[in-house]
Amino acid sequence: MAPQIIDRTIFDQQTILLVEDNEDDVFIMRNVFKKAAMTNPLQVARDGEQAIGYLKGEGSYGDRHKFPLPVIVLMDLNMPKKNGLEVLKWIREHPSLNTLTVHMLTASSLPSDIELAARLGANAYLIKPGKLDELLEIVKAWIKVNSFAAFPALGA
């Protein structure tokens, strides 16, 4: 499929799926997104299984008006049930989702984690910094990069 160029106004309206089990991290990410003036709708999955359910459109997630397919999945690594790498593997093995943009967002800078994520087809690997200001810097840059990036159109 040829990538289509999406302009900034369109990216702003695309859903971002945050897969994060830590309640504090979810709160902090929301706070930082707000400070970075991010307008994209944000959906949150609390663990790997929920993320797969969301992407599959299971149960109430079947309502794609309420739960649209995301333009980017921002995925934590260490989570209960299915971890981020397992979800990534599932996504890449799933025919209609294997071009979905997945960015890992984790505190782990373990070389083996980074290598495995790359091997499994992660599009980016972001390491959570220790300070809120640094996180804000990263998120601002991340939004800027993504608003100029081209994403493949996804079918349900």
Partner: protein, 414 residues
């Protein structure tokens, strides 16, 4: 006396003398008498027998060896001396003698009068008459019991030695195998430990991140609801969280440098130094530090990541331990000594009392209080990292006159 050699030759000489015409009977008699006395006093048993195996002569040596007197043996069968399990030897010996053969140093066992077996070495030669017909055999028997014993002992010792050697080899093999197993186990447990340390550090950092972030959110978003004391407390929480985060990160770095496999390669010192400078770009700008890099910067043998961290730590210290109200000045230069490169990082900071020059490289050692916050791990990473790359590190300093830290690594050539 050497009956087999000299006397054997003599015997043959006498026999030939007897055969040749023109020899006087007297000469022959004298020679025979001489010969008989040699035979009689020989240490060896000298026996003769006819082709039917009947003993025809028996010397004193034979009596000593076999226990029988000449009277007992002469006229009797020689097979008396042969133990039952060796009886079939005699027909073979007789057959060979008949065909004119001589049997040399044939080792076997014979029977003593007292029933004991004796190890003997036999030399059997045909006896011919005047017409050159074979009429019997002379037999020289030598007691080789001692020799056999010695041989048996030698063989036993040899076997013992061989066995001991095999046991030793087996031990060595087992030891090697155990060392291999232990090494593998150690590597495995080392790896597990590293993974454990990593996940502990990861889990320790998560709540710190939250503490830092929530306090920061308080200051950012709820500042109007907080008075100065409350804001101060929030800042103290942030500071503590950040200190502990730095501690966890430094401990992780130290652990990685102390344990991880270290691949060494020729490094362009200039690019590693530049990377360290970039890391402190903001600090250098903020403090208006003067950085002087003095060429040449030769290539050194090292690990890029580790040397990068070592240089960054030393640079960080030079920018940190500064005299108040004084812009930091850092000089980076090298010295080539034999096949080593000594790298100097010199500053105009507060300096270090010589009493502490060794201690500051130890983990958790700190000389300064709140004025210069730190984890006390930075220089221990420097020392450990340089050590792991096969080099040395040190400092020259006087309080108030700056510090000159040095590290030494093998030169990598041009």
């Amino acid at each position: 006396m050497e009956p087999d050699g000299k006397d054997g030759a003599l015997l043959r000489g006498v026999l030939r003398a007897g055969e040749s015409a023109g020899q006087s009977t007297e000469q022959l008699r004298l020679a025979t008498q001489h010969l008989a006395s040699i035979v009689e006093f020989s240490d060896d048993a000298i026996i003769s027998k006819n082709l039917e195996g009947i003993v025809t002569s028996w010397n004193a040596g034979a009596k000593r060896l076999f226990g029988y007197s000449a009277a007992e043996m002469i006229g009797g069968p020689v097979t008396r001396l042969i133990p039952s399990h060796k009886q079939d030897e005699e027909p073979g010996i007789i057959a060979r003698i008949r065909s004119g053969e001589r049997i040399d140093h044939y080792e076997t066992v014979r029977l003593h009068k007292n029933g004991k077996l004796i190890d003997v070495s036999l030399t059997v030669s045909p006896i011919k008459d005047a017409d050159n017909r074979i009429i019997g055999a002379s037999k020289i028997a030598r007691d080789i019991t001692e020799k056999k014993k010695t041989e048996a002992e030698l063989l036993r010792r040899e076997r013992q030695l061989k066995q001991a050697r095999e046991e030793l080899l087996e031990h060595a093999r087992k030891l090697e195998q155990r060392v291999e197993e232990r090494t593998l186990e150690l590597r495995e447990s080392n790896h597990q430990l590293e993974t454990l340390v990593y996940s502990i550090a990861h889990d320790l950092r998560a709540p710190l991140r939250s503490m830092q972030a929530y306090s920061q959110i308080l200051l950012d978003d709820y500042v109007s609801g907080l008075d100065e004391t409350a804001r101060h407390y929030a800042r103290r929480i942030i500071h503590s969280a950040e200190t502990m985060d730095a501690l966890v990160l430094d401990l992780l770095s130290y652990g990685r440098i102390a344990r991880s496999e270290m691949f060494l390669e020729p490094l362009a010192l200039e690019s590693v130094w530049k990377t360290a400078l970039q890391q402190y770009e903001k600090d250098i700008g903020d403090k208006q530090a003067r950085i002087e890099t003095v060429p040449p910067l030769p290539r050194v043998m090292g690990n890029e990541v580790t040397l990068g961290q070592v240089l960054a730590n030393l640079l960080g210290n030079a920018l940190k331990f500064t005299v108040p109200e004084t812009a930091p000045s850092v000089r980076f230069r090298t010295e080539e000594r034999d096949r080593l490169v000594r790298i100097w990082i010199e500053d105009n900071g507060i300096g270090i009392d010589p009493e502490y020059h060794d201690r500051i490289f130890r983990i958790f050692e700190r000389l300064q209080g709140q004025a210069y916050p730190g984890t006390g791990i930075g220089l221990s990473i420097v020392r450990k990292g340089i050590e792991r790359m096969g080099g040395r590190s040190g400092v020259e300093s006087t309080p108030g006159k700056g510090s000159r830290f040095w590290i030494e690594l093998p030169a990598a050539g041009p």
